[in-house]
Amino acid sequence: MSRIKELFQRKQQQVLNVYCTAGFPELNSTLTVMQALQNSGADLIELGMPYSDPLADGPVIQASSTQALANGMTIAALFQQLESFRDTVKVPVLLMGYMNPILQYGFEKFCEAAARVGVDGLILPDLPAYEFETEYGAIVRKYGLDFIFLVTPETSEERVRKLDSLSSGFLYAVSSSSTTGGDKDFTAVENYLHRLQQMKLQNPVLVGFGIKDKSTFASAGKYANGAIIGTAYIKALEESAGDVSGATKQFLGAILG
């Protein structure tokens, strides 16, 4: 059983997935950040692979990607950093990124390396369902990786069901049609989350985008299995002044405490 499935069997509520950018704030802080997240209570880690043109991300996460690229982060360097990360990090880890760098690295070679170092699944927002079904999905499955699709309030019920059937691990519910870090009224999305809940999907649902503190995390937990925090954590890291562990502990403490 995959680590992600195991997690959701053990825990169906208030599951916390935290996003961080590989190679940020320093090239070699990737592992330190992941360890700090695990030690401060994150149930899952979504590790972003920096890209020059990250369409689905807002300015805060893009700035962290630009910094990580300037620090020298590459996919090859990331896999070196992750070579023995499973010695210390036990929580499920997802790689999030964009198709272009992965195509350059080689899609199959990428999946092979991800599985070998102990990564559990992938979130690739610009890999569409059609291409996943016809070309890439078989490769993802061959290496035993979970694959997580996104749904939005604009996604039709029929399409939600289709994306649910293509996903494994969980389904990523974007809480408003917005790039990451958007600041929309959270109560406005509760209807949508309620609708997803009523659909009795095969995968657990995590809510991403717009979760930034204890109260938004709690609201998401009412209708979904948990939430994903990204922008707010990257901001906290930006302000960490080098103390990644302290900043992470303080940030997650405020949400989970």
Binding site: A56, Q62, I75, A76, Y98, N100, L103, L127, Y130
Partner: protein
């Protein structure tokens, strides 16, 4: 639906290039467009309004001009398709009108666009002013500094110009910001992409709106020479919208050689170039799979060209397919070759061309045309916007 050179397959692929590599947040907008663009474009009322505006507002048909002195200089027969005579000074307006009319029929109240040099931004702002629709144009901070007159034009026309601060602060980043705006405004906004790039159906839709260039060329050439088909159709390519329009009705006519001229910048191997087919590798940029200029690690690089309109690290999937299949002849011209070709056209024909179009003109030196060949060059725009660059070149020549 099977793919021809003209027509992508049902998923938007030209050969192995195209598709719609978009995040789910864009799916509804893109799907709405995909499922309705052909039906709307075929409506009689749409066609009536579109054709009328092309005629009475843009000034179409644009002339097909036999450039006699240029022909003599190259000992061949050269016709210029005068897109430079369009309202706003370039071919960009053909597509801007088409998309704004389409957006109105989709019930959209707000138009966004990206622009590099500002030509597409000006064209879109123009049509939005004409139709009384809100217009927001994203433009890289660096381009805003470099293209002050076009920024002023857009503002005069009532558009708001929003600076793109992210990444390299140029066209590709303006495109990213426009896409983000669309993600954040999923119901009332239409994104007018200015070239044959982006997710399906944009490359096909923009090519169709620009195809008026080759439709007119066919009938004008028939009247002038007795044959609808030139030996050569020559156009510059950045993203590739004027080339797509100039090639469109000749794509499935194998007798017509299609010549696409990219910007070599300081030279294809100089590290300062925008010749995507020469330097690019397959990748995904701005929602479609095509050839992309990028590092070995898959980060998109900043290209260089003296011409802001060709300064793009990708190329439309149609053109990537024409390159890969061998249907198109892909040449390149350096900054200096384009400048020389521009001054040559001024001197021989009394036409100041845009720097983009000058790249197409520069190809004449490489093509070795014969005395009985007929070549059409798409003169995609006029050179007013490039005067600062031309003045600098004249100073340097002394």
């Amino acid at each position: 639906m099977t793919a021809t050179y003209q027509q992508p397959d049902a998923q938007g692929y030209y050969g192995s290039f195209g598709g719609a590599y978009i995040p789910e947040m864009l799916h509804r907008n893109v799907e709405e467009l995909r499922s309705r663009y052909l039906e709307i474009m075929e409506e009689a009322s749409f066609q009536k309004e579109f054709q009328q505006l092309l005629r009475d507002y843009v000034g179409r048909p644009t002339p097909l001009f036999l450039a006699e002195r240029l022909s003599k200089a190259y000992n061949t027969n050269i016709y210029l398709k005068r897109e430079d005579l369009n309202h706003t000074g370039a071919h960009k307006i053909n597509n801007a009108i088409g998309q704004v009319l389409l957006a109105q029929r989709l019930g959209k109240k707000r138009i966004i666009a990206e622009t590099g040099a500002g030509q597409h931004g000006v064209a879109t702002a123009t049509v939005c002013a004409l139709k009384g629709i809100e217009c927001i144009v994203y433009m890289g901070v660096k381009d805003i500094e470099r293209q002050a007159p076009n920024v002023a034009r857009m503002k005069m026309l009532g558009a708001s110009v929003r600076p793109a601060n992210s990444g390299s602060q140029t066209l590709k980043d303006a495109t990213n910001e426009a896409i983000r705006d669309w993600i954040n405004n999923p119901s009332d906004t239409h994104y007018v992409i200015g070239s044959v790039v982006g997710p399906h159906p944009y490359p096909d839709m923009v090519a169709r709106f620009q195809s008026v260039i080759s439709a007119e060329t066919r009938s004008q050439l028939k009247a002038a020479t007795g044959s609808e088909l030139p030996g050569y159709m020559i156009a510059c390519v950045g993203g590739g919208s004027n080339a797509a329009g100039a090639f469109y009705h000749f794509l499935d006519e194998p007798k017509v050689k299609l010549v696409a001229v990219e910007a070599a910048g300081l030279g294809v191997s100089s590290g300062m170039s925008a010749a995507t087919t020469q330097l690019g590798t397959p990748g995904v940029l701005h929602g479609s799979k095509s050839l992309v200029m990028q590092t070995a690690d898959g980060q998109v690089v900043e290209p260089h060209s003296i011409s802001a309109g060709l300064d793009y690290p990708g190329i439309g999937p149609l053109h990537a397919h024409l390159f890969k299949s061998g249907r198109g002849i892909f040449l390149s011209a350096t900054d200096q070759q384009a400048l020389d070709a521009a001054f040559n056209l001024c001197k021989l024909e009394g036409i100041i061309p845009a720097l983009e179009s000058s790249h197409a003109l520069a190809a004449l030196n490489e093509l070795k045309l014969k005395a009985d060949d007929v070549a059409v060059i798409c003169l995609s725009g006029r050179g007013d916007k490039d005067l600062a660059t031309y003045m600098k070149a004249m100073e340097q020549k002394g």
